[in-house]
Amino acid sequence: MAEKPRLAVLKFASCDGCQLALLDLEERLLELGESVEIAFFLEASSRIEPGPYDVALVEGSITTPHDKERIHEVRRQSRFLITIGACATAGGIQALRNWADHEEFLRAVYAQPQYIAALEKSTPISDHVRVDFELRGCPINPSQLYEILRSLLHGRRPRTPAHSVCLDCKRRGTVCVTVARGIPCLGPVTQAGCGAICPTYDRGCYGCYGPAAQPNLVSLTSHLISTGVSQQEVVRTLRGFNGYSPEFRAESDRLAPP
């Protein structure tokens, strides 16, 4: 990597929360500002430098004809492209439109839908261009982002754990909300990274970090249905912030063919 690598932060359809995670690094942000050149980051700086960039952090999903073109230019300008968050890696909550009647959706929100240019589907960045690394989460974990940037600065390939939230609960010593209290939980099939927060707040995991490695979804959904959760509710739970990820999508479509 160059003496002072050039960083770009780019946004597509999203809530801004994942780029905010970069600003949430607080003191570490100032330190980072000394080791990288922030060349393009509209939310944080009015200095706009053209590419190429050494590292591009891409937030958000592809939902408009213009963005579908723009992501190719971002790829051409970026040596290492990292998607940050559930929108960029799995299409985000706005991918719920992928199971709906798009025209009806537009009519439901806008009085004059003809003014709005939107694609029928919200899709992850990797459906459009090659992605070098995907950072999961809705929102991403600022410490994971920091570690990834440190790895790149030191010439190491970034890594994040692919095990499930379930394992993190055991590590934290959190009593299992499903076993002890019968609360439905996506922890067994969801990738770790959040710190297994929800069960410590007496609620089940709702899948912010997307599918863990080799998730046994059929086993989990069958169990939920056998305990009295309706099939409709199971489908709805899978169709959340990472609902359009291949694994969650396949299972919800198996239960409720589109």
């Binding site: 999203s14 929360g17 905010l20 600003l23 509209l42 700086s45 009085a111 707040y201 609620r203």
Partner: protein, 431 residues
């Protein structure tokens, strides 16, 4: 063409989300001015239909990464109204505490990282930090402690997991809050110092005769409750919001413009409106500071918004300290409820201003209709009106300097474009 001038800012910076500004003038007269929001629509109101009402605060949080708590608060209050739930005073206090955390995190982000650099002609807080490293560190530290409060109460700062219809999934343990107190005491001093610092900035003389709108409450600074107050002295019940305010769609924006009914006039929401309408209900420390400042209230200078925001940071630290010092863990974290076929609405004060939600739900606990009106779409028409008034003051500048002067004004409103989409780039044509 002689006399024609175009200013085009394709990507507004240091705002949340994506927008542009286009201005065309001929012989110094404005022919066209558009705040364009090209942030892609995400259509929350459409896909909320059919979801279970318990999921609503988790889903609406995702409208905005900067102010997720505001979306959670307006949504749970609207749903509770539909279901006939009255929360306990203890839950009400904890919700105010959570909102204090979000106001602190959001306002300190805007003051230090987005807005203050304008007053020193800096491109970013990082550049400003080269000149004032200690200032920026103080700002980041206050922001960090605001985030820690959100984490203690909500599990995490962005998209907290603990807000539920009827209350919280789990109330915080007393020690989780108590350990924040020493840092918050430091922050209360730092926040007062921040007010004095921002009040010392050089402000343009730019008073705007606009209507101010915010919640007002007889005994407290408004957050989750109250009626809608205006600077003309009206008091509007929240369930009359849609009778008194309307949304209009414009072809160049994915955000609606909100206007007063029936006159079709613009209005301002946010910290400046709130401080003006509620100055006497600021916490004693914040109120005394407001009176000592060289600025007199009410102020209708949008550039003073940074002072209003800083005063609210003082208020939020002060109120949070009071709540945390008196906190006893309540026995009940959530009120039980049953489903019914009903509709409800609520407005709360997001960091950027009034946030209105309305939902209809069915007897199976599913959402059948959702309507969300964010503060930035309410401010959009006012921002355009203010830009029109501001341009004659800065028209003598070169194109780059003029663009910057326009962007500086837009930033004062802390527009959150990600929110407003159902919702900006600056382009100026001087013909």
């Amino acid at each position: 063409m002689a006399g024609e001038r175009t200013i085009r800012i394709d990507a507004l910076t240091r705002v949340e989300g994506e927008g542009a500004l286009y201005v065309r003038t001929r012989n110094g007269t404005i022919e066209d001015l558009r705040l364009q929001i090209y942030e892609p629509p995400r259509m929350f109101e459409a896909f909320l239909r059919g979801r279970s009402l318990e999921e609503v605060p988790d889903i609406t949080a995702r409208i905005c990464g900067i102010c997720p708590v505001a979306y959670q608060m307006s949504s749970v209050h609207a749903l509770e109204q539909a279901l006939g739930i009255q929360v306990t005073p203890e839950i009400r206090q904890l919700r105010r505490l959570l909102y204090c955390g979000e106001w602190i995190a959001s306002h300190t982000l805007h003051i230090y990282l987005l807005n203050a650099p304008d007053f020193f002609d800096c491109d970013s807080a990082l550049q400003m930090a080269e000149r004032f490293p200690d200032r920026v560190r103080v700002g980041l530290r206050m922001k960090k402690h605001g985030n820690q409060l959100l984490e203690a109460l909500g599990g995490r700062a962005i998209h907290p997991v603990n807000v539920a219809v009827g209350g919280f999934y789990r109330v915080p343990r007393a020690d989780q809050l108590r350990r924040l107190i020493p840092d918050f005491q430091w922050c209360l001093d730092a926040a007062q110092d921040t007010v004095r610092w921002v009040a010392s900035f050089a402000f343009p003389d730019f008073d705007r005769p606009c209507e101010l709108v915010s919640l007002v409450h007889p005994d407290e600074y408004p957050m989750n409750e109250g009626s809608i107050g205006t600077s003309s002295g009206e008091r509007i019940a929240v369930d009359k919001y849609e009778d008194c305010f309307e949304e209009r769609q414009v072809p160049y924006s994915t955000a609606y413009h909100s206007l007063r009914r029936p006159a079709g006039t613009t209005y301002l929401v946010g910290p400046l409106a709130r401080v003006n309408l509620n100055c006497d209900r600021l916490s004693p420390v914040a109120r005394q500071l407001a009176e000592e400042l060289p600025v007199s209230w009410p102020s209708r200078n949008p550039f003073h918004s940074i002072i209003a925001r800083a005063l609210e940071v003082v208020h939020a630290f002060d109120e949070a300290l009071q709540i945390m010092r008196n906190y006893r863990e309540p026995s009940q974290s959530r009120i039980a409820y049953s489903y019914r076929d009903a509709a409800g609405c609520a407005a709360t004060e997001a960091p950027r201003g009034l946030l209105y939600h309305r939902y209809a739900v069915d007897a199976g606990g599913k959402v059948t209709e959702a309507k969300i009106i964010p503060p930035t779409s309410q401010n959009q028409a006012q921002i355009e009106a203010d830009l029109r008034a501001w341009l004659p003051n800065v028209q003598h500048l070169t194109d780059p300097a003029l663009s910057r002067a326009c962007e500086n004004l837009v930033r004062c409103y802390d527009p959150c474009i990600s929110c407003a989409t159902h919702f900006l780039t600056v382009q100026i044509d001087r013909i």
